[in-house]
């Protein structure tokens, strides 16, 4: 470190952020190629397959959208918590518990009028996810429990509750060897965006119907909830008093308390919101994509959401952007998983590498590196020698 110094930039570089992300992604993909090579695959070819499969097909977009829905919802919630400096890593567990809440409603109120079923289940999912997150918030605010560990433990516990139910009382006896729940009634299923049968009946030609079917794939109307949630969060953070309080308390909790902001209330509220969004994400995935409760509802979206929230630096539009990018990469990994016979864990590996490289790369955005002794260039204030 001798001979060099870091100087904090007063204003971020205009295109620096893009350059940092581009470099970080390139480095990450290079490392992935190396990892593929280690296992005896063609590294560069594998990464090319990953990108082509993830982004380069007509059917990629529907799949990206499908995966983006839960990731975006979870990530919004996580970002709200992170803005308040509350390290909620529990979106995964809240997602699972929300799914269970929704399924509980579906299984226990079969006689409800059809128009009430979906709102009821979604509310139950959001409420249960919210309560699960609220539990960690309560433990943090009342007893000062470390929320990183408590939310993580609640993730593991949530998944075990799912296993308990799916291998126990919620198991469908009709499904022979599989531990799955019974299929939902049609009223509880969120429809796909493109329903070919419907449009064919209404005089759309087969070719057009086919094209849209390929394009939208399995993407479902849950995308509306993303748009709604995104707009609401944006409004919350930019225009409302509450959003102002979150930002203020996040940057300085003590000052916020002095200013009369109830920090406890904020933390519990924000955690509840995150849990509700994650729960909504979970049940929508369950209802639209699987149409019944299955153990493989647990996809690790909750952890991807943490990565996305951080890459986006907690900004909502960027969350949308990075959600799409990571959803595409996840789909790409699924593609090469089948082609190259590699483990599903490759997706997490890739996400971890991206997060690490971007985190390291931020240095070049936040600081200016110059030789010691030379006068600092414009755009930077006087710096102090780094610690060594």
């Amino acid at each position: 470190m001798n001979g060099w110094q870091l100087i904090r930039r007063t204003e971020p570089r205009e295109w620096g952020s893009v350059a940092v992300f581009a470099t970080a992604f390139a480095v990450s993909l290079a490392i992935c190629a190396l990892l593929l090579q280690v296992q005896g695959h063609n590294g560069a070819g594998g990464v090319w397959l990953l990108l082509k499969g993830g982004f380069g097909h007509v059917y990629s977009y529907g799949e990206i959208l499908l995966k983006a829905i839960p990731i975006f919802l979870c990530s919004l919630g996580v970002a709200l918590c992170f803005r308040l400096q509350v390290w909620n890593i529990g979106a995964e567990g809240q997602y699972v518990i929300g799914t269970l809440g929704g399924c509980w409603f579906v299984l226990n109120f079969p006689g409800l009028p059809a128009w009430l079923v979906l709102p009821g289940t979604l509310a139950a999912a959001m409420l249960s996810g919210g309560i699960w997150a609220g539990l960690a918030a309560l433990l943090r605010q009342r007893w000062g429990m470390n929320e990183i560990i408590s939310t993580l433990m609640l993730n593991y516990i949530g998944i075990e509750i799912l296993n308990h139910l799916i291998y126990g009382s919620w198991r469908d006896p009709a499904a022979m060897n599989q531990a799955v729940g019974p299929y939902f009634p049609p009223a509880a299923v969120i429809g796909r965006i493109w329903d070919s049968d419907f449009w064919l009946k209404h005089g759309v030609s087969e070719g057009t119907a086919d094209f849209f079917f390929q394009f939208f794939g399995r993407a479902h109307w849950g995308v509306l909830s993303c748009i709604l949630a995104g707009l609401l969060c944006s409004f919350l953070l930019r225009k409302s008093r509450l959003g102002y309080e979150i930002t203020a308390a996040g940057s300085n909790p003590r000052a916020a308390r002095t200013a009369g902001i109830s920090y406890n209330r904020l933390v519990i509220l924000v955690m509840f919101l995150c849990g509700a969004l994650a729960g909504l994400a979970g049940f929508q995935e369950c209802s639209a994509n699987l149409e019944r409760l299955e153990p493989n509802i647990v996809m690790g979206y909750g952890y991807t959401a943490v990565v996305v929230a951080w890459l986006a630096r907690l900004r909502i539009m960027r969350i949308a952007l990075f959600t799409l990018v990571l959803a595409g990469l996840r789909f790409g990994v699924e593609n090469i998983e089948q082609d190259l016979q590699i483990s599903h864990a490759f997706a997490n590996t890739l996400e971890g590498i991206i997060l690490i490289t971007v985190l390291a790369g931020q240095l070049f955005n936040d600081y200016k590196i110059s030789r010691k002794g030379r006068p600092a260039a414009s755009g930077a204030t006087g710096g102090e020698e780094r610690g060594s």
Partner: protein, 318 residues
């Protein structure tokens, strides 16, 4: 009289279950002990490393693969420690050099470590490795009841008995330990004393990482003796929680680990005796126990005993 006798008879198997539970606690506790002590050293130096889970995964895979191919558990152990140390060096690089957030870097390390170990370990799933063999220590192992529990184990367990004393000595009785602890409390003071807190933190990161890796290696080479997906299964996070429970002191860490492992092992024994506890409840037990551990330690007040400068990067160029 009749009733009392049957009462004792009823209770007797549960009391007798304590001894095998204690033995099981030693083998389940040892990997967590190594990881807890490793994280403790790192945090004492002022660096929060939440990547323990990922580091343990990478450490256990490295240890397993090396032992599988060379047949030497000791070489495997060394490589396991080195691999986790390399991971912690990555954390050090991101936080100390690139000024990244310690929380996020640690989480990234866990996501990456768990992912890459599962990915690279796929061909080894269900494969078995030689691992460590147990041997009894003469004299000590003939102590009634406890002798067989504590002194008929493998070399790693014996090492884990020594380690807390070594760390206590290192942290409390050497100049190096003083400087390391001071870097966690007040790095400016360390700098004023003419020692580089930057180097001390690096030392705490690397030493801690190596110990965490030994914990992972123990899991693969002595506890499981085979490779499985997600081998570590949350033990890294348990270690992070136990550091808080231990108030950052090696002695209390030992207490916490064996208490944690003992209660868990005892409940498994009780279940084996026919008490109807659903297996999924047993599966969530370690995580519920971790929450309890955290709860108990938080009753003592928030962050009591935590190094004052824990989790902060050195201020640069502000």
């Amino acid at each position: 009289m009749e009733v009392e006798k049957t009462f004792i008879e009823l209770l007797l198997p549960y009391i007798l279950a304590l001894a095998p539970a204690l033995a099981a606690a030693v083998s389940t506790g040892t990997p967590i002990l190594f990881a807890t002590l490793g994280e403790l050293v790192t945090e004492r130096g002022g660096v929060l490393n939440l990547g323990v889970e990922g580091m343990m995964m990478v450490g256990s895979l490295a240890a397993f693969v090396i032992c599988y191919h060379t047949g030497s558990p000791w070489f495997g152990l060394l490589c396991g420690g080195a691999a986790a140390m390399a991971m912690s060096a990555l954390h050090g690089l991101v936080c100390m050099v690139f000024q990244g957030s310690q929380v996020v870097s640690g989480l990234a390390l866990t996501i990456f470590g768990v992912g890459v170990a599962n990915y690279l370990g796929t061909p080894y799933i269900q494969q078995k490795a030689e691992g460590f063999t147990t041997f009894s220590i003469p004299l000590l192992s003939s102590i009634p009841l406890l002798g067989r529990v504590f002194f008929q184990q493998d070399a790693m367990v014996y090492l884990s008995y020594l380690l807390p004393f070594l760390l206590w000595f290192l942290l409390r009785r050497t100049r190096f330990g003083l400087a390391l602890r001071a870097s966690g409390e007040n790095p400016e003071a360390v700098r004023a004393a003419g020692i580089s807190p930057f180097k001390m933190r690096w030392a705490s990161i690397l030493l801690g990482g190596f110990l965490v890796g030994l914990g992972g290696a123990y899991l693969a080479l002595a506890f499981m003796r085979m490779w499985a997906d997600n081998l570590v299964a949350g033990r890294g996070w348990i270690a992070v929680a136990l550091v808080i429970f231990a108030f950052w002191r090696p002695g209390r860490a030992v207490l916490g680990v064996y208490l944690f492992a003992g209660v868990t092992a005892y409940l498994f024994r009780v279940q084996a005796l026919g008490v109807p506890i659903p297996s999924s409840i047993m599966a969530m037990l370690p995580y519920v126990m971790t929450l309890l551990v955290l709860f108990v330690s938080s009753l003592r007040g928030k962050g009591s005993g935590a190094p004052a400068d824990l989790g902060n990067n050195f201020k640069v160029g502000d």
